[in-house]
Amino acid sequence: MIKLNIDLEKVNPEEVFICGCDVTLKDILDLIDQGITDIQLIKRLTHVGMGFCQGRYCIDTVAQVIAWKTEKDLKEIKLPDARMPVRPVKMKVMANEK
């Protein structure tokens, strides 16, 4: 079982923020309760990992919460693909305007 650094049973999950884009622990727990434990799908349904940090800030915590709730080892939780660009980039920079 995964040991989270904190007592998830005691906290109010609506006040715990998984991601800078306002996704809360409750948003994630609700999906896990519905049986949705695939990070790819959780991303799409909550928008976690799809903002400016591109998942660097939040995805690891999502994985930990899934592992904790489903009593799985973290190594069984598949990370979402890392796709280019790995930093947000302006469209005009990519187009390389004069």
Partner: protein, 379 residues
């Protein structure tokens, strides 16, 4: 276990079909090797368009839009008729679109040719310096693939359909031309009817059933891009520019600008995004709307266009295998067509006939060498 009908593929086609069949009292099971929508549906560009260039696709899409509207209201997922705006850049393009508009009008799709200034009223940030006219249909639209797909799946389940995720079809058991069941990674499901709704993977399913005819469906990699979110209302319609690399773009519910261009790779099952795509999509988008250059690209991804030689799907019954149906090879149009496809195939299965022009999508046309006019395709 047993199921009267087994649908292989839990994309938008599979779940709308499951819903339609369950509504008609059929006992139906969907097999999805990952989670619903994970194949290509969740990777799609969200657009729903009636501006096609042939009678069949116009008719089918007109029906599909009616159904999108009906079901979005019933099930409560976002579908908006924000229109499709084709930007036209020269007289030849205008002539061609005038012909298309006439055909679309004939079947009740209210497309009209508008001036560049009118186009700019619809999307004020548009650059119209090179645009000579636009083809505008305000009844085209877009829907959210995540919420739409999950809503159809949920409603299908309410009507008794079974949806098995992470359940992969491994083989189809056929004895003397009769289907007996489907072997999956989780066991055998006995059934007499199988529907191949696996789109990009359809050829693998056809091979399992050993269908004796050739239905060329190949997976091609197409990519999408999304930018940082903006305040809503900047780009309501789907904007199309065939001149700039078959580009399509619109704003999502969340606020990001989403779209793609006609950079295609394949046949392949690789889904790695490419640098070339990022460059080309950025060039095309900033040509169409220069201020988009200021936006940050947050993500790219890829999905499959399951393409046939004429970019029209193969929908129908395979006579040699009793009873095997196919609805695949949508060539980038599966999401938009799904509700109408579900209706016509369910008609065929439960009533033996349909009012929609299913013959246009005859799976035997490739074998017979009777390709259709190529369906108008973007991105």
């Amino acid at each position: 276990m047993r199921s009267e009908i087994v649908i292989i593929g839990g994309g938008i086609i599979g779940v709308t079909l499951a819903h339609e069949l369950a509504k008609r009292g059929e006992q139906v099971t969907v097999l999805e090797k990952k989670y619903i929508g994970s194949g290509s549906t969740f990777r799609c560009g969200t657009g729903i368009r009636q501006q096609f260039t042939d009678e069949a696709n116009i008719k089918v899409m007109k029906r599909s839009v009616e159904l999108w509207k009906k079901y979005s209201e019933e099930f409560g997922f976002p579908f908006k008729q924000t229109g499709y705006l084709f930007l036209l850049y020269d007289d030849e393009e205008v002539r061609e679109f005038k012909r298309n508009i006439k055909l679309q009008n004939k079947f009740g799709v209210p497309t009209r040719l508008i001036t560049p200034e009118e186009a700019k009223e619809i999307v004020p940030i548009l650059d119209i310096s090179e645009v000579v006219a636009a083809s505008w249909n305000p009844t085209d639209g877009k829907a959210d693939p995540f919420f739409a797909t999950t809503a159809f799946a949920r409603e299908a389940e309410k009507l008794g359909a079974k949806i098995f995720e992470y359940t992969e079809a491994k083989d189809i058991i056929v004895e003397n031309g009769e289907i007996r069941g489907v072997k999956t990674n989780k066991g055998i499901i006995k059934t007499e009817i199988v529907i191949n709704a696996a789109n990009a993977w359809a050829k693998l399913i056809n091979a399992m059933a050993k269908i004796p005819i050739k239905i060329p469906i190949e997976p091609y990699k197409h990519q999408g891009v999304i930018t940082q979110p903006l305040k809503g209302g900047e780009i309501n319609p789907m904007i199309i520019s065939l001149k700039y690399n078959d580009a399509y773009l619109t704003q999502t519910e969340h606020g990001g600008i989403i779209g793609g261009v006609g950079v295609e790779y394949g046949p392949t099952y690789d889904l790695t995004p490419t640098y070339e795509f990022l460059r080309e999509v950025s060039k095309a988008f900033t040509k169409i709307i220069p201020v988009l250059g200021e936006l940050l690209i947050l993500r790219t991804w890829a999905g499959f266009y399951a393409k046939t030689p004429d970019s029209n799907p193969a929908i129908g019954r395979i006579e040699e295998i009793n009873e095997f149906y196919i609805a695949a090879g949508f060539s980038g149009h599966g999401f938009m067509m799904a509700p109408a496809v579900a209706e016509m195939l369910a008609d065929l299965i439960t009533r033996g006939k349909t009012e929609l022009p299913i013959e246009w999508y005859d799976p035997y046309r490739f074998e017979r060498g009777e390709l259709r006019e190529t369906a108008l395709q973007m991105g």
